[in-house]
């Protein structure tokens, strides 16, 4: 376990604790503790019997205590942008490709929601492409912006994202695929090859009916 940050760690933990208490009082389904530089979770979190989703993105967590998975209604924990090193096999998580690379061996493919945003690194993508035929996972993948809304303009995919979009046909293990908030002019043809796909989500992409853009020869 890493040593706690020296600069006023109590303030962040206190804010996190307050938010948790607030969510507990309201019986909320969502708990958001983003960007608080937390190195560990406040104990109060283990009392949230109604929470279904927890977003811990942008903290400094290296692992998640196993007993978090005892929360009766918890469905998923989002852990993007944390230096996670190890995760329990019981984990149901949304993680970035870097974390996936470090932890995939202990995780079940159906419990992982892989999130690929603009921060995805080329090395991680290369690693994934070299290993994916062996790993055959994960079964749920989101490519694009996480916090996109209807009033935002789709973003240009990065080179690394583009590489994945151009090779979607290789992801024949994926059941749920979401492309969100990206500038893509045509629905990537690779999707047609995804035999296990049962849920397809093409939100916030600016798709149009204009002739010529509809089909790829």
């Amino acid at each position: 376990m890493a040593k706690k940050s020296q600069e006023m760690p109590d303030v962040r933990v206190r804010l996190a604790t307050e938010i948790i208490q607030h969510v507990r009082r309201r019986g909320g389904a969502w708990l958001r503790l983003k960007n608080l530089e937390l190195t560990e979770l406040p104990d109060e979190i283990f009392t949230l019997s109604d929470v279904q989703f927890i977003d811990l993105s942008g903290n400094k967590l290296r692992t998640i205590p196993k007993k978090l998975w005892d929360l009766p209604k918890l469905r998923e924990v989002r852990l993007v942008a944390n230096p996670i090193e190890v995760l329990s096999p019981r984990s149901r998580v949304a993680i970035d490709l870097g974390t996936y690379r470090r932890c995939h061996t202990s995780l079940k493919p159906q419990n992982i929601n892989l999130i690929i945003t603009r921060t995805v690194s080329e090395q991680d993508v290369n690693w994934w492409f070299s290993e994916m035929d062996a790993i055959k996972g994960p079964s749920k993948i989101i490519i694009g912006g996480l916090d996109v809304g209807i009033d935002m303009t789709p973003e240009e995919p990065t080179e690394s994202m583009r590489k994945i979009l151009d090779s979607l046909a290789r992801l024949d293990f994926v059941g749920i695929l979401l492309l969100r908030g990206l500038k893509v002019e045509v629905v990537p043809g690779g999707i047609q090859q995804l035999s296990k796909l049962h849920s397809l989500n093409l939100d916030h992409l600016n798709l149009t009916n204009r002739a010529g853009l509809d089909r790829r020869s």
Binding site: H22, L197, L202, D203, R216
Partner: protein
């Protein structure tokens, strides 16, 4: 969208927020699809192949351009959820559609079983200052030869006049155009008393899908065009409005029509007429008829049984009937299911044709066939000299006197309940004495206020409709401090040793709220929730919450600079600098502060946001 999407073995497909107008027909092959989401696109209709998706459970098509939820919705046996808000639905009629999937299915089923007839009626609502000539216009529309008496008595409350004219209407359903000729257009002309006292009830009668006429007297310059145009625009959902200038003694007043039209899209124009000589009256009537015929609900198909019951109720001379009697009339005209009968009364209520409050334990047993019967009774109380001189205080004994006429016999409880439903009065204990807050004294009583450490919020409105504060008082009356810190434009509430002061400043278009005490956050949350509930009864109300600036200069001022709460929070979340626009003092220079202070401010603001 490529054709091959139809070949995928999908259970769920989401295409939210694209610019799609249509989808390839091949999607009909998605034989296992359970969930389809098409929100925020450009679809003009629900794609027809959707009717073939027998496995579909959830369909969402919010914020597109669809006008119709077609009858084939009955062919989707597994459909549990249909989301379509943000579309200009007119078939089924919006009042039916807004009740949800079951109501829509009911409507199409009844149409299939009973045949269809077309709606050909509307409300014409006449507004204006007292003495402008509203009643004269109403009478002249009904009968051009009507003899205007020299001293027409001022209308108290609302008069409703029935008027018919022959018409031909065109209607379009399932892409088919029909011409329906040789029909009578039935109009109910609602003639409002212009007195200020009635303004607080406008939100119940300024209905959607009506034609509005604003009458102004050319001799006087007292018409507050901006108030009338704004209140109509806000409440009527874009219904057309005509200004009729009543020329008395041949004077014409210039109104700046082009500027008003630029502000109000629903303003159709201004016409002059002289009601004494009938000059210009033909044009006024023809224009009104044209607007009535063009209302979107005119020509809407209804199950034939609905139309028959509607006509029977119209012929009925009684002011009100019991629920049992209503249900029997429905039965007589071919209804069999109780839920279908209640759906119709809900529809008639929403259209403003009758009053039936189905969710109210007492009022649900009465269907008021002539809404003006109820409103007249209510206004009699507000207009009563005894009640006025008692500053809005009245007792059951006084109600018995005010409502002594035969037509109110045995209905006093219901009428009193109606007044409370309209948030015009509340009961002081023990249900024997009542207060109508809009008749309260305008003088603010004296009380002490501890300014230290309290919370302050200002609600600023781009347009503040009348009656919000009195309705707020009625809604929160159980919290009024010592039961008496209340006046015409404000109130002090008390709860668990904390106090909230809520004051309307009408001319500034704002409501000021101050809260102080140990549980001030909870009390502020209560105040905000009640205000929010009132705000939602005005569909297009625009307002912003402001927090007062606490820089040195502002602390000394009676009018400190206000920060819009939403923007302030956004700035704080992004740790942007916060500066007073008046004094230019930098209130929060993030880079200068320690981490502890940054988090502290964020916690404070988030907490504040939480209690709002």
């Amino acid at each position: 969208m490529p054709d091959w999407i139809g070949d995928l073995n999908l259970q769920s497909l989401s295409l939210v927020d694209n610019n799609l107008r249509s989808l390839p027909d091949s999607l009909r092959n998605l034989k296992t699809l359970r969930y389809l989401s098409l929100d925020h696109n450009l679809f003009p209709t629900i794609p027809e192949w959707v009717c073939e998706l027998a496995t579909l459970e959830r369909l969402s098509i919010a914020s597109c351009y669809i006008r119709e939820i077609p009858s084939w919705i009955l062919d989707l046996p597994r459909l549990e959820s249909l989301t379509f808000d943000g579309n200009p639905i007119d078939s089924p009629p919006a009042e039916v559609a807004s009740k949800g999937l079951e109501a829509i299915r009911n409507y199409w089923r009844q149409r299939a079983d009973e045949g269809v007839d077309y709606l050909c009626e509307a409300k014409l609502i006449i507004l204006g200052e007292p003495g402008a000539g509203k009643t004269s216009l109403a009478r002249k529309i009904e009968n051009q030869n009507y003899n205007l008496r020299q001293t027409e008595r001022s209308t108290e409350g609302i008069d409703v006049i029935r008027y018919r004219f022959p018409t031909v209407i065109r209607t379009q359903e399932n892409g088919e155009l029909k011409v329906l000729d040789k029909r009578d257009f039935q109009v109910s002309i609602w003639d409002f008393g212009g007195q200020e006292i009635y303004h607080a009830t406008h939100q119940f009668f300024l209905t959607k899908r009506s034609v509005y006429v604003l009458v102004c007297d050319d001799r006087k310059e007292d018409t507050d065009f901006s108030y009338w145009l704004q209140i109509v625009e806000m409440l009527s959902d874009g219904s057309p409005l005509l200004i009729v200038q009543n020329e008395k003694q041949d004077r014409t007043r210039d109104i700046n029509l082009s500027s008003l039209r630029a502000q109000f899209a629903n303003l159709r124009g201004a016409i002059s007429t002289n009601l004494d000589t009938n000059r210009g009256l033909d044009t006024v009537i023809r224009t009104i008829q044209k607007e009535l015929e063009s209302l979107p609900h005119v020509g809407a198909g209804l199950p034939a049984t609905w139309k028959r019951v509607r006509e029977a109720l119209e012929q009925d001379q009684r002011d009100y009937i019991s629920l049992e009697e209503y249900l029997n009339i429905c039965q007589q005209y071919g209804f069999t299911k109780r839920e279908d009968k209640l759906q119709l009364s809900r529809y008639l209520h929403d259209l403003g044709i009758c009053l039936h409050f189905q969710d109210d334990p007492l009022l649900k047993n009465t269907v008021v066939l002539k809404p003006s019967w109820g409103t007249d009774a209510v206004y009699r109380v507000l207009d009563d000299p005894g009640v006025i001189s008692a500053r809005g205080l009245f007792t059951r004994t006084e109600l018995d006197r005010i409502w002594s006429e035969e037509k109110y016999a045995g209905m006093q409880d219901e009428l009193l309940h109606l007044m409370m439903k309209f948030q015009l009065c509340y009961a002081l204990d023990p249900e024997q004495t009542f207060i109508a807050p809009q008749l309260l004294s305008s003088e603010q009583p004296s009380y002490s206020w501890d300014p230290m450490g309290g919370l302050i919020v200002r609600y600023e409105y781009s347009f503040l409709p009348k009656g919000i504060i009195t309705r707020f008082v009625v809604a929160t009356h159980h919290l009024i401090a010592s039961g008496k810190l209340v006046w015409k434009t404000g109130v002090v509430l008390e709860r668990d040793g904390s106090r909230a002061e809520v004051i309307e400043e009408y001319s500034q278009r704002r409501i000021r709220v101050r809260v102080t005490g140990p549980s001030q956050r909870e009390l502020l949350a209560i105040v905000d929730e009640h205000l929010e509930r009132l705000h939602t009864s005005f569909p297009r109300l625009q307002y912003e919450r402001y927090l007062p600036c606490r820089c040195k200069e502002c602390q000394e001022k009676s009018e400190p600079y206000g920060f819009a709460l939403d923007k302030l929070l956004k700035m704080a979340r992004k740790e942007q600098e916060i500066q007073c626009y008046e004094s230019s003092e930098m209130l929060f220079n993030w880079s200068m502060r320690s981490c502890r202070e940054r988090f502290k401010l964020r916690i404070t603001l988030e907490r504040f946001k939480d209690c709002l």
